[in-house]
Amino acid sequence: MLIKQLSIFLENKKGRFTEVAKILGDAGINMIAFTVAENSDFGILRLIVSEPEKAKEVLKEHRYAVNSTDVVCVQCPNQPGALSKIMKIITEAGIFIEYMYAFSMGDRALVILRPDNVEATVNVLSENRVELLAASELFRL
């Protein structure tokens, strides 16, 4: 139930993301979700792609600093209060979320979580019957 997320260090300079998108596109890799955390001089692009190992390799060839992290993808109904229930479970289990990002489509919503303890998160969410998406399912979206 763990998903490999790539993180790429980018200086705040024009055209950096354009280049990353091109490298991945040329390698036939599809981006499924991403978010950028930025501050005054750099940004960190967190990215979920169809072939994380291959993506990491091609980006490394282009001298990017790429690392991978395990994240969790939660699926919940696209309706008021759905996410709040899930967050409550996580908080009560004493898990801290470093960051998260989400997208909704139609009647469902997907949330990517980067908790301080990935395994504990998977366990507590599974016990509470929260639906977790596997990487393969996410890639088929």
Partner: protein
């Protein structure tokens, strides 16, 4: 191995006697053959008859880098041009270069001191040495070249650049020694790693690094990255080139070839000689050169000298690592900053590559001080807070070492320019708009 035991292990008393005799000969030579020197000595009211002993050296006038520029190109030669067999010139970035002329004897003596260096690094006639200093007007390439031939080793005259070929030949020719600038050595180390050739395929054991100041931390970095022993070879174009001094297996200071180049330490402000062990500006007098002898040449290098016998057996004076060149010193918000201080901090921090670039500017009448650094691949995190923590730690360490808090800018891997010769690590923009 000690190349010339007679002089390298000579008693201090005998050394001073020898230096006295040679200084007197040199003073006579320049007085009679080089007008600028004769005039200066006359202005001070001295003649060669006043120089009888090495301690008389303090009576002589200083020579500065500016003097060498003022008498460009051949005004400071003490022999006719017909005796000069080679010219070298410094890579002066501003204005005219500094030119040095060598007689045949000068080249022989250069080879002699070079041979002392390479022998002290444990290299000998059975060894292949790749010389990756630039060949040409710069003294590095040809200086190291002559030294390797003199010890009977096999020289690969690579010069700098063409990194892929450097690596291929280093492996194929079985180079045991690598002579280049420390910054180029770092560049080669990265390139060797990228080449996917395993370390076992290289025979490299010894690094002969010089031509730019480098720190103890940089040494450790180079030794671990390349799996070698890294030695300092010291030299200045004005004095002769590489070979003025060298480390030995103890790696505890740079032995100076003081039977040819007499060192003094002075207070850079007053010009007064300082007692042994005190830090100040290094001054050299060449006491055997014919083509262009220099009397009391102010190097601008800051260091100190130690006269105790070394564990290696040599009695020659040892120089501490150069703290910096007084020319390289930056004054930022009133604080003296040497790039070498920044380097030592950067090399100590586990998460950083040993590359940096300093940018100084003045914005709204306030100095800005930015240091660009690269994080090692595996330390780039997906969390902004972790990256900021690295920045803070570097800034804090620098604050405690230099008393000034820089803006740390994390940049992408390999984005700081790798130098193939002397590294350019500072951009002081203030000169252009103040």
């Amino acid at each position: 191995m000690i190349w010339n035991e007679t002089v390298e292990c000579m008693s201090r008393d005998d050394m001073r006697k020898l230096q006295g005799i040679r200084l007197k000969q040199t003073v006579e030579r320049v007085y009679h053959n080089c007008e600028p020197y004769r005039k200066r000595m006359q202005e001070k009211g001295i003649t060669p008859a006043d120089i009888n002993d090495i301690s008389d050296i303090v009576k002589l006038p200083f020579t500065s880098k500016q003097d060498l520029r003022d008498y460009y190109p051949f005004g400071l030669l003490s022999t006719p041009m017909s005796e000069i067999v080679r010219l070298h010139a410094s890579s002066g970035t501003t204005g005219k270069p500094i030119v040095v002329g060598y007689t045949r004897n000068d080249l022989n003596l250069w080879n002699e001191v070079g041979a002392r260096c390479f022998s002290a690094f444990g290299l000998g006639k059975q060894d292949v040495v790749q010389v990756s200093y630039g060949y040409g007007l710069f003294t590095g390439g040809l200086g190291a070249h002559g030294a390797v031939e003199t010890i009977g080793g096999t020289v690969i005259p690579m010069s700098s650049g063409n990194t892929e070929k450097q690596i291929m030949l280093m492996r194929d020719f079985g180079a045991v020694g690598l002579a280049c600038t420390p910054s180029y050595a770092l560049y080669l180390a990265d390139a060797m790693k990228d080449s996917n050739i395993s370390r076992e395929e290289f025979k490299l054991k010894v690094g002969v690094f010089g031509a730019e100041p480098w720190t103890e931390e940089m040494r450790r970095e180079l030794e671990s990255k390349l799996g070698i022993k890294a030695y300092d070879i010291y030299g200045l174009t004005e004095v002769i080139g590489p070979g003025v001094g060298h480390e030995c297996e103890c790696q505890n200071g740079t032995h100076l070839c003081e039977d040819h180049f007499f060192p003094e330490i002075i207070d850079p402000k007053t010009g007064e000689s300082l007692p042994p062990g005190e830090s100040g500006e290094l001054v050299f007098s060449t006491i055997t050169k014919e083509g262009m002898p220099l009397l009391r040449f102010r190097t601008r290098d800051l260091t100190c000298l130690h006269y105790e016998k070394c564990e290696c057996g040599r009695t020659s004076v040892r120089m501490s690592r150069i703290l910096g060149r007084s020319d390289d010193m930056l004054i930022i918000r009133g604080v003296n900053v040497f790039p070498s201080q920044v380097e030592s901090v950067i090399c100590e921090i586990e998460e950083l590559e040993p590359h940096y670039f300093i940018v100084v500017d003045r914005i709204n009448n306030l100095d800005t001080f930015e240091i660009q650094v690269e994080v090692k691949d595996n330390f780039y995190s997906d969390e902004v807070s972790k990256m900021i923590a690295i920045k803070k730690r570097i800034a804090h360490r620098l604050q405690s070492v230099i008393g000034l808090t820089p803006d740390i800018k994390l940049v992408e891997p390999r984005s700081i320019e790798r130098s193939q010769g002397k590294a350019k690590r500072v951009n002081d923009k203030r000169k252009f708009n103040s």
